[in-house]
Symmetry: C2
Subunit: 335 residues, 2 copies
């Protein structure tokens, strides 16, 4: 299996990207194609032991920067690492694409470079959200690809989420929730009130509307929402986790006994940091495009990149593109 | 000053409501009109020392239940505690109304009972959100009154938030942020991209788009959003705070040394619980209606009710209704 990695994408590229690639090549026995400026990549590769690892460099001399306008950059920078890497996927020379670069750019490049799966109206960006249950997570989509949607888009997000959760995450009959303002059917926006009946009438395991606490309590395996709400939701969650950590640190520092206490409890603090750490999940798949695209956090370090490559491997191994295509066809035959 | 309290509203009514009223009457020297079923209220009052306190009972024999349909219940239950209490406000016999009952019912009762301030298109429900800065909070609206909005509604929410923050919360020139998916002007939904320019062109202290982490970092004093997104945002935050507390408890319990550590650090844990405790803020004003209406959390205990009454007192003292009415007129003259 070959994974094309955007070696130039992310706040800490190319250092974190190349380091993450070496790590993933070693841990998962994959070929990682390092796409980007050869000199930069060679310099970074030289810092690691790479004997026996398959880390070919694929030259691409332009970079889609964090502040580039996504669609314009993808159109104009034909020799950028993103566009070149996606061409590899399109041509079958790679099984998946991973990037921590400009996420709008990655969306645009993925959509233009690979096209949509037949019948899919809009691709959706997804993420894995932690829950309080010990091994549980919740798969949330869309978290930013589509800020303005129609009911049928949300319905397809649910269908794609179902196939990802069942095929890749190995959850039989995943419980699907619709993010809304109350559990009752009549709660929510005009949009969610149109989507609810569609989901209820489908063969998906739809559990109804869910709110924030239902998600963190682990009541749903897949949560469907529009990209605006989903993005606000995950960034709000990040903000709250940050705030709690920050306030707790301040309050502990103000109390000598608490400093000792925190030292004794450091294992518990470490465990919760790991549980909440976005780096563990690496990145979220862009579902609905005709290939595997994994979009990692812009501030990904090497560990996050390694894990994003793991996610790409899993999605490619379970052939998520085919699963969604077949699932959509089956669904349409039934209707 | 007289505050009309819905003695029958909330998960723990009438016990918590009456107890909170006694507490507030004592602490703030207010007259609290206890609106509801006299027998129930008398039974609860008998549990407290009320000598010297002014706690008149105003009979209302019906109750808008938590699972009642808001608009229908308000229309049919003319003798409910909510409808009767709002009549007192309307007739000038009370300066404000406080309820922990069915919040949809409170919205409907407030809107039908008091009407809108002239020129206000939609009332907005608001809440105070904690931030990491030591004394800072953020005032967020709308958090649930309007799930589907138009740009001019959001603009008016900003105007109302400005007046509430400057007049009642005493923040000179409050910084106003628009909840969106990125800080850049071109990020967001069609809605936010229409509202941004309106806010920028106004004389409000508009700081642009804000995301979750900007809010918890304390970068804005007022955050404006539609009622769907705002509701998902605050419930998501609640869910994450709950999850972190839950996981931390589990991780601590699994480690004997950490149990000792948590004991030593208990002061810090207590401090953060207080900081994050919704009960400290009591309730959020329903802005835009022609009177002071404070909507408290359904699961409010006596302390939360006491504080919701404090919020009502402050809003009435600073005459928030007049401030919004005048502010809107001044703004319209300028345009």
């Amino acid at each position: 299996m070959k994974i094309a990695l955007d070696a130039m994408g992310g706040d800490h590229a190319p250092e974190a990207a190349v380091h993450g690639a070496v790590w993933a090549a070693r841990d998962f026995g994959l070929t990682i194609q390092l796409v980007g400026q050869p000199k930069c990549i060679e310099t970074e590769l030289a810092k690691h032991k790479t004997a026996g690892l398959d880390l070919p460099i694929i030259p691409a001399y332009e970079v889609i920067e964090m502040d580039d306008h996504p669609a314009v950059a993808v159109k104009n920078k034909k020799d950028s690492s993103m566009v070149v890497a996606l061409r590899l996927v399109k041509e079958g020379q790679s099984d998946a694409f991973v990037t921590a670069g400009n996420s709008g750019g990655a969306l645009a490049a993925g959509l233009f470079g690979l096209g949509r799966i037949r019948g899919i109206k809009r691709p959706a960006l997804s993420t894995v959200f932690p829950t309080a249950s010990q091994y549980g997570h919740c798969f949330v989509l869309d978290v930013g690809a589509n800020t303005d949607v129609r009911p049928e888009f949300l319905f397809q997000f649910a269908l794609m989420g179902h196939h990802y959760a069942s095929q890749v995450l190995n959850i039989p009959s995943p419980r699907i929730g619709l993010l809304s303002t109350g559990e009752e059917e009549d709660k929510g926006s005009m949009l969610t009130q149109e989507v609810g009946p569609l989901l209820k009438a489908s063969q998906l395991n739809f559990i109804g509307n869910v709110e924030g606490k239902d998600i963190t309590a682990g009541l749903a395996d897949v949560v469907v929402t529009d990209g605006f709400t989903g993005n606000v939701f995950i960034k709000g969650a990040e903000g709250v986790a940050w705030m709690i950590q920050r306030i707790l640190e301040q309050e502990i520092k103000a109390r000598p006994l608490a400093i000792l206490g925190a030292f004794l409890a450091r294992g518990a603090f470490r465990a919760i940091r790991t549980k909440m750490d976005y780096r563990e999940f690496g990145g979220g798949p862009l579902l609905g495009v005709n290939g595997v695209v994994i979009i990692a956090h812009g501030r990904s370090d090497a560990y996050a990149i390694r894990n994003a490559i793991r996610v790409a491997k899993q999605a490619a191994e379970h052939n998520i593109v085919q699963a969604i295509a077949t699932g959509l066809e089956e669904y349409q035959e039934k209707v």
